[in-house]
């Protein structure tokens, strides 16, 4: 039975990504909390439903509040503050997710060449999603 090489002690890519997954999870928690509290401070309790608030917490994008009773989406819900939070969420969430995808693929793909190829594909997908998400946020 051929298996992947045992993880070495010291700073390897695997180890760093393991740490990053935990740290990005905590960062996403903090960003969600900030988004949730800021939304309530901006008046979300009377201006939108729970589903809308959940959607905003998951990702604070102005499009997520356009169908609510928010009096003015611009500037309260779309400004540099929210853009910064969105960029942070995008970076942490996409990297966290793509690393998770890499782990799942490495768990189930048997052939070494296919694993390496899929790892490359995941890297390209990561880059692609970062670019597309950044573009969508900054230009709409």
């Amino acid at each position: 039975m051929s298996s992947r090489p045992a993880p070495q002690i010291g700073f390897s890519f695997e180890y760093l990504m393991w740490i990053f997954t935990r740290l990005s999870g905590c960062a996403l928690y903090l960003l969600a909390l900030v988004g949730f509290v800021s939304a309530l401070v901006m008046g979300a309790r009377t201006q939108m439903g729970v589903g809308d608030l959940m959607r905003w917490t998951f990702f604070p994008n102005s499009y997520h509040v356009v169908n609510t009773n928010v009096p003015d989406v611009d500037p309260g819900w779309m400004n540099a503050y929210w853009n910064t939070i969105q960029m942070l969420v995008i970076f942490f969430a996409i990297t966290h997710g793509m690393n998770g995808l890499r782990v799942v693929i490495e768990d189930y793909v048997r052939r070494p060449w296919l694993r390496i190829f899929l790892r490359g594909l995941v890297f390209l997908l990561w880059l692609f999603m970062l670019i597309v998400a950044t573009y969508v946020i900054l230009t709409i």
Partner: protein, 128 residues
Amino acid sequence: MALKRNAVFRGLKYRGGGPMLAWLLHRIGGLAILVFVGTHVLSSYFQYQLASELAQSINVIYESVYFQVVLYFFILFHVINGLRIIILDIFPQALEYQREATWLEWLIFIPIYGLTVFIMLQQHFSGG
């Protein structure tokens, strides 16, 4: 890791109980979130930048409350279970209490999920 046996079908015979269910839901939820976020970002791009109707119908699915209830289950579970994993990784001496931690996690998950879904459905059906 190259396995000679089929991981999915043989794995179902493993009686891992609560912790295994948590691992499974965490993994499936993670993949579901990836698929959702990926397709939603792409279809939003196509809908708003290129005015595509196909993209708009995809986003209509995502706006349905029933889809959101199911997706929210996986998201909330992934989030709460993730926190349990992080805590057990920082304090490995608590690993003896893996099973109790899993019970505690469900005890936290069920009220938050139940209450939120109740409010979401109530607001949906009363025209909110």
